[in-house]
Amino acid sequence: MAECHPVGFQWVMEAKARGAKVFHVDPRFTRTSAMADRYLPIRAGSDIVLLGALINHVLDNGLDFRAYVLAYTNAATIVSEDFRDTEDLDGLFSGWDPDTATYAPRSWAYAATGEQPPAEHAEGGRRHAEAAGPETYGAGGAAAHPSPRTDPTLTHPRCVYQILKRHFARYTPELVERLCGIPGAAFAELAEAVTANSGRERTTAWVYSVGWTQHTVGAQYIRTAAILQLLLGNVGRPGGGIMALRGHASIQGSTDIPTLFNILPGYLAMPHAHRHEDLEHYLEREGGETGFWGNRRSYLVSLLKAWWGEAATEDNDYCFGHLPRLTGDHGHYTTVMGQIDGTVKGYFVIGENPAVGSSGGRAQRLGLANLDWLVVRDLTLVETATFWRDGPELETGEMRTEDIGTEVFFLPAASHVEKEGTFTNTQRLLQWREKALDPPGDCRSDLWFYYHLGRLVRRRLSDDEIDRPPRELTWDYPVHGAHREPSAEAVLREINGVGPDGRALSSSTQLRPDGSTACGCWIYCGVYADEVNQAARRRPRGEQDVVAPEWGWAWPANRRILYNRASADPEGRPWSERKAYVWWDAERGEWTGHDVPDCEIGKPPDYLPPEGARAQDALAGTDPFIMQSDGKGWLYAPSGLADGPMPAHYEPHESPVANLLYGQRANPARRTYDRPESPYNRPGPLFPYVLTTYRLTEHHTAGGMSRPLAYLAELQPELFCEMDPRLAARLGLGNGDWATIVTSRTVLEARVLVTGRMRPLRVEGRVIHQIGLPYHWGWGGGGLVTGDVVNDLTPLVLDPNVYIQEGKAMTCDVRPGRRPRGRAMLDLLETYRHG
């Protein structure tokens, strides 16, 4: 966190100064470790074992926050008798279909209570998984029965609590030592600190970023932390939570108003060509009827009204038919395979540098080279725009410029200081930024580009039916200045939404299913309340309380802590004075506190839903997790995940050790692309080391924004690899020497930084050396410094839920000296692929 979120890390330092104890779990000793009270070195890819052992520690010793767990989680819920655990099936859950390599999740469901949803509505399944369906639950959960059978004594053998207990029973401190390389004493200290610092008076927070996500079990890493936090009562309370530290400045914004293929704004699922024929169909299948998702018709219809305006009427399903449809996986890596196979002909690359930043760099470039046309919009001439004239494949002879038919259009983009708009940060905080200066030359904002591109495209449309969707779009933003820049505030206001009177709405609860309201993203509704740009508020922290509600605007409803109903006990009283956050004021008959309460403000704690209630009305006054159909925090996920209702430890796709727990070595549901462009390392002694990749404070991602800047480039001028002294000695490498790193994808060279910060770990009886590589270098991109592309080394293998690549744990070999060039490099590679 100190490395990649140094500005945010100031709050960790402040917490530390106030007595918080900081643990850091990472394969490398980093700047964060240097500030932590305790550093726990871990083998990359083994965190589920560590977190699972903490869960086991809590359950085994009865350390859970029982009142919280009983009231707010699904611990008491009884699960279907068809369910079988990985403990029973040697690493597989019930429902595994080896032919399609996917799970049918029916057996994971809650025990039947009579009426059951139709089978095809159960989330999961191949099509669902293919379209990255699980990722559509960004703001909530999949549907589950709102009032399932429960056992409040938590003794029923099929209640979630007992299932969890059995599931994690083998996740012991000994296993942590054997698989993660973390000694028992260190684990004990962590377990003691985490449990002692949870409960009524105290809370513990977990902070993670891509060290947890970029794995074939990435989503399940986070699930494991969520289970632990729910058991300890650390969700929805101040000082608790699981903080995802996100990446690019507005990457949160770009999932809320997504650049992802599988969701619409506000985490509404993208319609599927075969699953959702019309609006009714769609609404029936995507999400539950209870909880706030029960309002999804209002959200979707308002979105359609924002997009198609007058043209969207009740008679035509509000233009639902205009929405594009998924036919399967249209994710980044599948798209690249389509390029290589010739099925994808054109490509827009906006603010991304996949030739360097994406896994399997060679495959990326092979794809780019097989396109008809490519549009790159970037601040600098990044490698993605120049691969055809200076890419590494030219040196090896795998490509020749004259053979590449791709027509490349490079369009210079305005940077964040050269345009106005909002950033949504990791805390869901929208912060408005003014333009500081005009973009130079032909550089234009992305808003300008899309608006005018849309305008020009619409000019060329025919009256034909096929052109109707773009023709009927509302596409009329006010423009200003010599370049006719569209007004970003007008866009923000459209996102906020307007009511029948044309005035800006102030809350998503005002959205209607009848087409009378329009709203570009329901979770952002309120950012323009009272016709005021709430994101532009800048009241200094010294002039308001610690929650600082008047700095920017947080979705939803300017709420700073989600699910904060859980900060009060079931009766609505704070769990403790120390941790008071929101509470029920019986006199005034409403919820109050330091933050905007995350529940209906007038719903008393003793409210019980009447039979047949819908949406939020179906949630009791004690249900804090209002986006879930049952209002509960899910210790066990009866649906919605592609790889199981509970996390299980699987080895990374490429791992030097066997899975001690199960016969199933790696995540069975992981997405693989076993192709000649990007083969996998064969298991065995050829690739004896663990390789992990990461960032440096001094650079940014694929380097397009840091390598051209002298002040940053001079701070980390060359690609280097970090390795421990013992391995360096064995390889005859000294500090500052050159090393060659090999996977079956490619061979690259890096300078050597010999450092005790890389600690070899004894795992399963043998010493495992880990190599660390920062991935910021490339051959060009206007960079003042250049270096080999680390992503050329990484495998194309993905988490099955969200399709993130496993960039954090793989195997490799290391050789002393620089790498061979040209043909000789390919020859060396061949010896690793086939030798």
Binding site: P725, N735, V754, T755, G756
Partner: protein, 312 residues
Amino acid sequence: MRTEGAVVPEAGFRSYYGRPVIKPPVWHEPHMPTYLYLGGMSGVSSSMAVMARLTGNPRLARSARLAAAVGASAGAALLAAELGRPERFLNMLRVFKPTSPMSVGSWILAAQSGLSAAAASADLAELLPAAKDMALLATAGDAALLATGLTGPLTATYTAVLIADTAVPAWHEAYRELPFLFAGSAMAAAGAVAMLATPRAQAGPARAVAALGAALETAAGTVMERRLGMVGRPYREGRAGRLMGTARLLTAGGGLLAAVAGRSRVLTALSGLALTAGSLCTRFGVLEAGRASAADPAYTIVPQRERLDAAP
């Protein structure tokens, strides 16, 4: 492996990757050492010119006057060239700062070069037929010359303060001996030039100055190195050590030769050249020793650490 590097094998001595603590002097070669040589030579030449004039040795007086003038102005030119911004040379005379040996020195050098130039030109002017009767000119020249009797020795020695008033351990710690080392070196240099430039019959005092200078330099150098202890090592090691050793040989040899040269043309020439080379070597050596002592953190850290540890 202790990554926190200790490059110099000094017991218990720690540093930051063996990097220097202080900045080495940025002055360039050959400018700065040559200037030191020329300044010294000019300064003592002035003293000799004054004495030669007073004792009635016109040939020696003339060559010393000329040497003083040439040395001072060539030195000033080198100094200007050494500056990062030569066009700003005059900024030196913007202020007079007693805390800055370079400021004080600049004024001394300005006086020395002006006066010695005046003295030399007056002397040369006498050679011109038209100037035969210009008594005033001669008087002015003599007055200037007399004044250089003051500025000359200062020019020859202030440079020791100049370099000693720095954080460079091999210089600062030697601030007592350096002025004598430079004084001796300057006498040897000036004596040598005068020996070579004056008919041998009139050059006796020059030989005496040269021999005395050589003796003084040798003695001062010996005392300095003995007293400096560990900080004196840069004077004995590496390039500086070789330069200082060579200087020692040349100066001692040249001094002895000066003492015995008499009217021998060969011995005079040998002695003069040896002393000149010796003086130059001393200046290059001292500069290099300073650089070496600045570049190696041991010379900064070890004495300071000892000082701290010794303090109550």
